[in-house]
Symmetry: C2
Subunit: 569 residues, 2 copies
């Protein structure tokens, strides 16, 4: 095989072992059949016609199977990227279905391009920036939004907006449009799905073995979908005013260059695309890395970025909206025995079959059922358990959860996520915003210096020695500044101020400016600022800056050198 | 004096010394007269009629004189809050002047309320969260936006939008509306102002002493304004199509309860108000603390929050838009000899006089001159020097500068600021994202443990001892996770893994989850995870959590205890 061929054919395919073929095929079929209702529903959640959910489960899945980092992760339309799409394109909703659809694909391509670029720049570490609290709070808030947004399909009341208040106020406004039969269908379906999901222990496990019960639970939404179709036809729901999804256009997603809007409009989508890329990456990585560890495989975050990026980028060219790895579809895939991405390719075949052969089968399906399906599955994403453990184990993380959660509900997805990130970063800075600054003295007869409050040490009347126990940066420079000035007031006789920098690994610009100001302030009081024990990398940074060139005192290699040079009898 | 009276009358007034009365009065008069053109211009920049610039220099100034933290800081309308107001209310611009004006006051009240609340919560430390790079980058980007936005007054081309691209594309669209005479007036005024400002050395200092030259430079914009008024009347500029500001309505700002819009609209302004409050606070504090240090006074950030907050809150009730402390007006105040806030109260009298007596005097003044005044003064805010020194002295801070600067230009003020903050926080996390994890051994015969690569130490075949040299949090937990797993692969014989936690000051939820996962992973390989030297505060947090209750190994007080208990011969 040529080396180009080797690079074009993924490793899993070159090393494919026929023994895993049957389980891969079965897993692929199972996932394909089970995720159809979800896929239709997520398209609707994204504000798109249902068929786009099937489109999004074709080309991106093929690309991910080829290039993705995980052997078993099932990518496709997921709830979070769907609602982020809807919220980003909210402003385009009344500009006609065609433009909306184009914008959704364009957004997927932007998300994909950003992910791919991040992969090329090896920014895989960026997932570390999202704390557990923020991601759980964001997802929980989004789940509530999704839940409420689906009420429009259960009630037939038009709901618009991008935040909870938006939804609720528009519900109130159009309440008289409530359609009782639709509500009945939706509520019954929702109740059955919830019972199936959370009452499985009593319903299925009372008469089935645990593994059969699991499958009964998983198959139930599909069965309900079948029942709904039959009832809808026989009772003529559509003629009674129930909105049904109608005939799904036959045929595969076609290569379509997304409409390029005004350059400014695309640019306005860029921050949203950035946040979507972040969320898609974080959730996919968390799925992929969890299963990689279970299977004793290594997880390559940069390869995940590249694979997920190209899946979205190429997907967008084939009428897909933004996709990510999904926890539930991956769990089904693994439980059904998937060993390689071949399973996903089989899933694609199921979608293709659905598109070609069953277009009219779904036509009588009420939107209310899709809405109920999503509402029932989304409840599990509201992650009260994480909030509870964060509250017990790390209040600052709980604050990030709450900030992201409330932020999403009040201000919408993007602003909420940003607020959550801000709070989590801020809480981090808070922890190092008051570094320990110790006044030290000399252990008699040694070169060691210790806190004067804890040790019996020698001090010199004209010297003030301060040990700074943290790197200096914008978050703590003012507090260090204040602390040093206080100490100089406490020891007014000391004219030589020595800062011991052994624990300072970095001094940023803000802190450098602070030290320059401090130096000037001390100079006006005829006091001199000295440094000892500056680390090599710190010295490299500040060597030729005004901080050292204008320093009123000296830089000493060690504190003992400083003391010997400066002490007065 | 009763204690209530004592609380109502500020300390500076109770202790007022008559000796400083003359200089306070002179400084107040000078500032009042000199800032009139600026104040009119900033109102226009905020999208308001010029008179609102005078309104904003009355009530807020009185409140700040009463309650503010600084004796010499001059608050009032400033460029940054003006453009942030314009950008926030951009969407209301075509809903009629009255609503726009109301929204501007409402926004000032929201900013004020947030600042006041922050003051009550003692959040003064929050100013430490903005690094030098971010604030300089944000202000520089805003200055460019302001500069470009003022081109509409110099060209008579309507310019709208909230980002550079918006401005430029709308300029292109309406380019045929260019008015040559307006452009001529604007360009000449701009050129003269720039020469005055940056050519002062050659123009004024060649024939005046340095202190006179400084005043000539400061007076020149006012003289130019007078000349423009005279020329405008004599040459009938208005009749030739030059836009002039027209008669300024006589009378003082009136108590006006701002129009309360739809609750949702107010809520949508809240994030913007939060960012404006942050920027107003950071810039005011930097002015106030600089002068406090110069005057050997202490700076109380929480009092600054309260004072600035109430200045905006009460100001908003009297037709003011958002205000902050201004560097240039404070500099004039101090240079003119201001010693107490009485100077600011004199400035207020000048504004009142202008409002009552000179309303028609300003009428012939062309908008082009106000635009040129702002453009000339704003150039100094483009802070290339900070970018340069950041580039040399702290690349990460330079990255924050560039992110905020470019972000503001492309995405507008709010998004730009958020992007800058994100980059500055992210760079901080980056610095601690790869903590040092050392494999250690025992210094023979002692209880000390040192890095095996640097010291001649004793190791035990069944023990792996790792010292973690940083607090564990979401930003580094994956990297520590990977490092520990690598070490266990490197020493496959070691079944007892001891993590030495002496340098770990905090373990957040994400890191706790990581350690739980690590514990499980090691358990599947029949390896045990132990901890030694957990600090008290950390132990308090994790004591009753699954991390310790499910730990496969033990917690030891010291590493030597762990070694003695676990080592095999």
């Amino acid at each position: 095989m040529s080396s180009i061929g080797a690079r074009l054919i993924p490793a899993w395919l070159r090393q494919y072992q026929l023994a895993t073929l049957p389980t891969d095929i079965i897993a692929g079929l199972v996932v394909g059949v089970l995720v159809i209702p979800q896929s239709l529903g997520y398209a609707v959640l994204a504000g798109l016609p249902p068929v786009y959910g099937l489109y999004a489960a074709i080309v991106p899945v093929i690309v991910y199977a080829w290039l993705g980092s995980s052997n078993v992760q099932a990518v496709g339309p997921v709830a979070i990227t769907a609602i982020m799409t809807a919220s980003a394109l909210h402003a385009y909703a009344n500009q006609g279905a065609e433009q909306y659809v184009m914008m959704a694909s364009l957004l997927a391509m932007m998300v994909g391009a950003l992910l791919w670029i991040a992969g090329q720049l090896k920014l895989g570490w960026i997932m570390q920036f999202i704390s557990r609290g923020v991601s759980a709070g964001f997802v929980s808030g989004a789940a509530v939004l999704i839940f409420v947004s689906q009420l429009k399909y259960l009630t037939h009341i038009p709901i618009a907006g991008s935040s909870l208040i938006g939804y609720l106020s528009s519900m109130q406004q159009y309440a008289q449009q409530l359609h009782p039969l639709t509500l009945l269908i939706g509520v019954v379906a929702f109740a059955l799905l919830i019972m199936n999901r959370y009452g499985s222990k009593w319903i299925w496990r009372s008469w089935l073995s645990s593994s059969y019960a699991k499958w009964a639970e998983r198959l139930f939404p599909l069965i309900l979908l079948g029942i709904a179709i039959v009832l809808s036809i026989s009772m003529q729901w559509s003629a009674h005013g129930v909105a049904t999804i109608g005939i799904i256009p036959q045929g595969l997603p076609a290569f379509t260059l997304p409409y390029l809007p005004d350059f400014r409009e695309a640019l306005n989508l860029l921050p949203t695309a950035g946040l979507m890329a972040l969320i898609a990456f974080v959730s996919s990585s968390s799925v992929a890395s969890t299963y990689a560890r279970q299977r004793n495989e290594s997880f390559d975050a940069n390869r995940e970025l590249t694979g997920l990026g190209l899946a979205n980028l190429v997907g967008g060219l084939f009428q897909s909206f933004a996709v990510a790895g999904g926890f539930s579809r991956t769990a089904i895939n693994v439980d059904s025995g998937a060993k390689t991405p071949l399973a996903s390719l089989v899933t694609v075949l199921v979608m293709v079959a659905a598109l070609i052969a069953f277009g009219s089968t779904f036509a009588p399906l009420p939107y209310a059922l899709l809405g109920a399906t999503i509402m029932a599955s989304i409840i599990g994403l509201i992650d009260i358990a994480t909030l509870k453990s964060a509250w017990q184990r790390d209040r600052l993380d709980a604050a990030s959860f709450i900030a992201a959660f409330i932020g999403v509900l009040i201000f919408g997805l993007n602003t909420g996520l940003v607020i959550g990130l801000m709070v989590s970063f801020a809480s981090l800075i808070l922890q190092s915003s008051k570094p320990h600054v110790a006044i030290v003295g000399q252990l008699a007869g040694t070169g060691h210096f210790r806190n004067i409050n804890r040790h019996d040490v020698v001090t010199y009347h004209n010297l003030l020695m301060l040990r700074i126990d943290e790197s200096l940066f914008f978050g703590n420079s003012e507090s260090v500044h204040r602390r040093v000035l206080e100490a100089t007031k406490q020891y007014p006789e000391a004219r030589e101020i020595i800062l011991i920098m052994a624990a300072v690994n970095h001094i940023d610009l803000t802190a450098q400016e602070m030290l320059i100001t401090l130096n000037q302030e001390l100079a006006t009081q005829d006091k001199h600022l000295h440094f000892s024990f500056i680390k090599g990398p710190v010295m490299d940074i500040i060597e030729h800056t005004p901080l050292l060139t204008k320093l009123s005192g000296q830089v000493y290699l060690s504190t003992i050198d400083a003391v010997d040079a400066l002490k007065e009898a």
